[in-house]
């Protein structure tokens, strides 16, 4: 394997998040190392998506501290997280419905494009060169994900599985150092799942992208993860390499629904 797991780049310490009376996360700590595939699992409503939202600044935890690349983050905003190289996909596909596949993926390169609205109005010289340069990158992503034949299709017309793939493409186009993937394989058939797994592993392997993954398919999770965090009712009940987690009695209980 080309990649080698590095130092801790993201550290979550004592994170608590509540919505009114609902406690979504209670005092959760874990870390993510560079280049690893780190999964977050847990039953429905465990707080997995909320955790991702805390990482990239969509939600602001009431308590706790997030350290990213040695820097303690305050007042995180999603666009700042994007600037720091964190990209993500959503549990409920969040593509731009009115735009084509190419345009959706092009938006992923937004932060790397420097021209302003005046350049764009003229679309000459600098703006044109920039558009072409980034279009090339987007075509690389399209080739990588094997979606050449749908590049001009409005995303709303695509089947679910392909939409998920395009959303991954949009995240990839940003050339992120860390990707947060919220159930990228939900609702897919076996074949589509295999493709998606391959893409995730390839991204991780070829570009060294750190991946934080939420997934319900235990087979997949245990197969591709380096380490796994388990949440249940907003609390952390397990953390470790797949084998450790599999044999953790609390985890087994949570999944069989015997405790509480």
């Amino acid at each position: 394997m080309a990649r080698e797991i590095g130092d801790v780049i993201l550290k979550m310490e004592g994170i608590s998040l509540s919505f009114g009376g609902v406690k979504a996360l209670t005092n959760i700590s874990f870390d993510v190392r560079e280049h690893e595939i780190r999964s977050i699992i847990g039953p429905n409503g465990a707080g997995k998506s909320s955790m991702l939202n805390v990482i990239n600044g969509v939600y602001h935890p009431q308590e706790g501290q997030v350290t990213f690349r040695g820097e303690i983050r305050r007042d995180m905003e999603p666009h700042k997280a994007a600037k720091q190289g964190i990209a993500r996909t959503f549990q409920n596909i969040a593509l731009f419905k009115g735009m084509s596949v190419i345009d959706n993926i092009m938006t992923g390169r937004n932060l790397k494009m420097k021209c302003n609205v005046f350049h764009h109005a003229l679309h000459w010289g600098k703006a044109r060169a920039e558009e072409i340069e980034h279009r090339k990158k987007v075509e690389e992503v399209i080739d990588f994900l094997e979606i050449q034949n749908i590049r001009k299709t409005p995303v709303g017309r695509l089947p679910y599985g392909l939409q998920k793939r395009v959303e991954l493409g949009r995240a990839l186009a940003a050339e992120p150092s860390m990707m947060l993937l919220d159930e990228p394989m939900a609702g897919m058939n076996v074949e589509e799942k295999q493709d998606m797994c391959r893409f995730i592993l390839d991204v991780n392997d070829q570009f060294g992208t750190t991946i934080v993954l939420i997934e319900h398919d235990m087979g997949v999770v245990m197969d591709i993860s380096d380490r796994v965090v388990v949440l249940d009712y907003g609390k952390k009940i397990g953390d470790g390499v797949p084998d450790e987690v599999k044999n953790n009695p609390d985890v087994i209980a949570a999944y069989l629904g015997t405790s509480h």
């Binding site: 593509l95 735009m99 609205v117 072409i132 279009r135």
Partner: protein, 355 residues
């Protein structure tokens, strides 16, 4: 077999990213511009130029402005006419107060004033959406018209805010007749329409549409919501402002703030609904449709029904037809005439072998 891209393989992304990627479209647009720039001024009579072509062009520009804000960036506005007023009164004051002010610079500055005011009234969009934002822009509509009447300086202390556009002169040439005014209007509108088309197909336009379609996802990608929305307000109001200045200078001549009332704002909104929300070409189709419909009804209804109907019936019929069409487009074809045109093109692409 006439209209298709078969055989037109794009060898580079450059070719694929042209403003009109299909050759027939490129030729079509050039022919259209050529027709309106060369043939029309030769053959159209005064009435056509003054009462139809000039207003269609000006309303198209305003509709493009509203389409940028509503169709592309997804921010509903009922204040288009007020931003036109700012452009008209802005240009008037620059012409009036600065000696030797070039006309084209004056209308651009008028547009810039509108852009500034637009950004100010766009600030609420950072907190509110949809219906509530529409109400906020409604406040802009009333406030601006009120301010232009109330603060007499804007109209150089004329009664009830009426202004009379100064003579247009560019490089010593006086634009007096409808022909020259038409050509001037056409020039400004074509240049700005092409610029708009360029904006909507680049990062700026993609950011607008991203915010329109899914704002949380847009932010997570790194798109700044505030900047994107305010840019849309600025560009949109700039377009409306320039349209307003042209409205005063090449169309009506003498305008008052009340002329830019809510009715006009709604008219522009109807243009984009009928023409096509989120389409530059639709803005032209919608404007042409709304200018031409009453004229067509005036001509054809008495022709068909003769003396059976009174003229008041005809004008009521207008409203009924308008209302019916709006409902039709909102329910059946929200992308308007532009979409119908596109469907026609897709059929043509397959013709004569539909399978």
């Amino acid at each position: 077999m006439l209209y298709r891209e078969a055989g037109q393989f794009k060898a580079s992304y450059e070719a694929d990213q042209q403003i009109f990627p299909i050759l027939q479209d490129r030729i079509g647009v050039l022919l259209l511009i050529g027709f309106f720039a060369l043939a029309v001024p030769l053959f159209a009579d005064q009435y056509w130029l003054k009462a139809i072509l000039i207003p269609v062009l000006i309303f198209s520009l305003a509709a493009i402005g509203l389409n940028i804000l509503t169709g592309y960036a997804g921010q509903l506005s009922l204040g288009s006419a007020a931003f036109m007023a700012v452009g008209a009164f802005g240009a008037y004051n620059f012409m009036l107060r600065i000696d030797g002010m070039p006309f084209l610079v004056a209308i651009l500055l008028g547009g810039l004033c509108a852009a500034l005011v637009g950004v100010m009234f766009g600030l609420p969009s950072l907190r509110i959406k949809g219906f509530y934002l529409a109400v906020a822009t409604l406040a802009a509509q009333f406030f601006i018209v009120w301010a232009l009447v109330k603060i007499e300086w804007f109209s150089n202390y004329s009664s009830s805010g009426v202004i009379t556009a100064q003579q247009i002169e560019i490089l010593g040439f006086a634009f007096e007749g409808p022909q020259s005014k038409y050509l001037l209007t056409l020039f400004v509108v074509v240049v700005m329409a092409l610029a708009a088309k360029n904006m909507v197909r680049s990062t700026t336009g993609r950011s607008w549409m991203a915010v329109r379609d899914m704002d949380v996802a847009a932010e997570v990608i790194g798109i700044r919501l505030m900047r994107t929305k305010l840019t849309a307000f600025a560009v949109s109001s700039f377009y409306c402002g320039v349209a307003g200045a042209l409205y005063a200078y090449t169309y009506i001549g003498t305008v008052e703030p009340e002329g830019f009332n809510l009715d006009l704002s709604f008219k522009i909104l109807f243009m984009i609904i009928i023409g096509g929300v989120g389409s530059i070409m639709g803005s032209f189709l919608g404007a042409a449709f709304i200018v031409l419909l009453p004229i067509a009804l005036d001509v054809f209804v008495p022709m068909l029904l003769g003396d059976l109907v009174s003229s008041s019936f005809v004008s009521n019929l207008q409203l009924i037809v308008f209302g019916g069409l709006i409902v039709f487009f909102l329910i059946v074809e929200p992308h308007g005439l532009a979409r119908l045109w596109q469907i026609g093109k897709e059929k043509l692409r397959l013709w004569p072998f539909p399978h």
